[in-house]
């Protein structure tokens, strides 16, 4: 617990006012709007939100993997070890991808190339970044497959993706992500497509390997249950902005933003009275090409006041480890 609250550790990634827009039917959609956050060394940072809240676009913007057109990063800074990734040339950012910052994706079923053998795909980051000498590549691949606890690694190297299950493929993706011992691993919904039992295995594996490699991880998910168990700090995103931030403990035990409160209530819990119903957050996420004025959450907010409809609340620090973007004192109103 002490480690979780440790804010004195060195900052690995410092994202400032990141702003990514998409061109859609002639409109600009502000998918990521003035987002700032940081990742410390050795930390697991979670970004939580509904689909469409901009969490994946945030992650892809960091590595400049946004398909362009239609996407465009229009502002902000992404400082990685004090170097702005948005200033790098194409070749420089390429060298960083997979070596310093690696990424694993939501869909293990489609994230591996169906026509290439696992071994070939796993070896690629090692080869392109020259992380191990050529004659050691195969050996390293086997070691990686053993690390992600994939049985019979020799045989798996020669397999094609369709011969593996979803969980096995996600293990391969993790092995691929960790191949070059990146300092930061971005895991975008790594378990969404998997069975519940496999989810826990994969997340534990991810956490253990990240800790073991002394890396940091940015865990992107819509599942607060996942976050509670694995993250040190949490950023809650809504409509392309961060609306609440804090240590996992703070967000869990003392959530302040109405959206976070809504997410908590919509989550099944063991301490709930049997037979009681889950409460979903009412309404739909806003259309980002035409966001509502004021606080983007106000149309769905049960605490909304007059001010919420006209003025957008900034993200403000409320205690040492807690920030929120909301005008309302939710504790008083509950």
């Amino acid at each position: 617990m002490n480690m979780k609250a440790d804010v004195t550790r060195r900052t690995l990634l410092d994202v400032q006012d990141l702003h990514t827009v998409f061109e859609k039917d002639g409109n600009e959609v502000h998918a990521v709007n003035q987002v700032s956050f940081d990742v410390k060394e050795g930390e697991i940072l979670a970004i939580v939100g509904e689909s469409g809240s901009g969490k994946s676009i945030t992650a892809m913007s960091l590595l400049r993997l946004i398909p362009s057109p239609p996407g465009r990063i229009v502002g902000g800074r992404v400082l990685f070890n004090d170097q702005d990734l948005l200033d790098l040339g194409d070749e420089q950012i390429r060298r960083l991808r997979g070596r310093d910052i690696a990424m694993i994706f939501q869909e293990p079923m489609t994230s591996l190339n169906p026509s290439l053998r696992i071994g070939r795909q796993l070896a690629e980051p090692l080869r392109v970044h020259g992380s191990v000498p050529k004659e050691k590549v195969r050996e390293r691949c086997l070691e990686l497959l053993r690390q992600v606890r994939l049985g019979d690694p020799e045989k798996r190297l020669d397999a094609y993706p369709h011969e593996l299950s979803g969980g096995m493929r996600q293990r391969v993706m993790i092995a691929m992500g960790l191949a070059c011992l990146p300092k930061l691993l971005i895991a975008d919904e790594p378990t969404t497509a998997l069975d519940v039992t496999v989810q826990a295995q994969i997340l534990e594996l991810l956490r253990d390997l990240v800790r073991q490699n002394n890396s940091s991880m940015m865990l992107i998910t819509h599942d607060l249950g996942v976050v509670a168990r694995y993250a040190d700090r949490i950023n809650v995103m809504y409509a392309g902005r961060i609306v609440e931030r804090g240590t996992a403990e703070e967000i869990f035990h003392r959530p302040k933003h109405p959206y976070t409160l809504g997410l908590m209530e919509s989550m099944p819990r063991l301490d709930q009275a049997p037979g009681s119903r889950l409460t979903p957050v009412p309404g739909q996420p806003p259309d980002l090409s035409d966001p509502p004025p004021g606080c983007p959450f106000h149309p769905r907010c049960r605490f909304a006041e007059a001010r919420c409809r006209s003025e957008r609340p900034p993200l403000e620090q409320i205690t040492e480890n807690h920030w929120k973007a909301c005008w309302v004192d939710t504790d008083a109103k509950r």
Partner: protein, 319 residues
């Protein structure tokens, strides 16, 4: 895989049987009769019925059509496709002398089409909406719009008018002098190949765009691969499956093209033989040419299917 190829080759037999019935029947449906033609051309003393009956019997056409077919098919199984009605030369000999020309023209045209279409299609896709893409797409629309018989005719006529140059019409066998031989084939196969390349290019571009949107391409970028590897290693192989299918479908169309181009450039190929046989109602030749091209088309489709196995590991031949 050997067993699969063998099975597919055996499957050719019933297919060919059905095809031969259709071809044999359709050829006889062509209006006009070889007997009339021969009688008028050979200036038989009169159009007397007994002359006609005699000729009919000599050509073996007095028997019912199904009997004619059975005896033809029986001979065909032994590799004897009959004799030309006009020249009395074996059909296999006539075809054998011409097949090489058509095959060379077709293969060269296909190679040229692929050499143009694949790089242009790939570049068009990865540089979507840029100058290169627009040039590539305009080229393909142009090539689609220009009929190759018109282009072929222009290429023969205009240089002859302007510079007194005309494409060589003398055929040198390939193994005697490959350079001279290729000179003869260059212009006709370029014309055929260019018009063919348009369709292949558009399919390549579309499929590349489709594949480049896939999740595994994003994975490839995220690994830090160079654009060259992302495109050539990860995208092209997956994009090629429908392109190969298209090439298989284009082969019969290509044969249609060779008939016209051979005529324009006076190349002594199957197309010329066929055209001549149709106008003289030389039934055995027509049937023979169709049979041979049928076999070629079916073999090409077998090769296409084998390519799937290479491109898509999910395709297994042993089961």
């Amino acid at each position: 895989m050997g067993a699969y190829v063998l099975r597919r080759l055996l499957a050719l037999i019933p297919t060919l049987l059905i095809a031969s019935v259709i071809v044999f029947g359709v050829v006889r449906l062509v209006p006009g009769d070889v007997l009339d033609l021969m009688l008028s051309e050979n200036a038989y003393s009169s159009n007397a019925p007994e002359d006609r009956a005699q000729l009919e019997k000599a050509l073996g056409m007095d028997k019912p059509l199904y009997m004619q077919y059975l005896s033809w098919a029986g001979n065909a199984l032994r590799g004897d496709l009959g004799e030309s009605l006009w020249r009395n030369t074996p059909v296999t000999e006539e075809i054998g002398a011409r097949l090489g020309v058509t095959l060379e023209l077709g293969i060269l045209a296909l190679l040229i089409a692929l050499i143009i279409a694949l790089p242009v299609g790939i570049v068009s896709a990865i540089r979507q909406e840029t100058l290169a893409d627009n040039v590539g797409r305009s080229f393909s629309i142009l090539a689609l719009a220009i009929p190759n018989f018109w282009l072929g005719t222009l290429v023969v006529i205009l240089p002859a008018l302007w510079w007194g140059w005309s494409p060589p019409t003398e055929m040198t066998p390939f193994f005697e002098d490959p350079i001279e031989n290729l000179k003869t084939f260059l212009v006709p196969s370029l014309i055929l190949g260019t018009s063919l390349s348009a369709v292949i290019m558009r399919m390549t571009r579309t499929m590349m765009l489709e594949v480049l949107r896939q999740d595994y391409i994003r994975t490839a970028w995220a690994k830090g691969l160079r654009e060259r590897s992302v495109v050539l290693v990860h995208a092209v192989k997956n994009a090629m499956i429908p392109v190969i299918t298209l090439v298989g479908i284009l082969v019969p169309i290509l044969f249609g093209g060779t008939v016209i181009i051979e005529q324009i450039f006076r190349l002594p190929g199957l197309g010329q033989l066929l055209l001549e046989a149709v106008s003289t109602r030389d039934y055995p030749i027509i049937t023979g040419v169709f049979l041979v091209t049928g076999v070629v088309v079916m073999l090409v489709n077998l090769i296409v299917d084998l390519c799937y196995g290479y491109l898509d590991p999910k395709v297994r031949f042993d089961r």
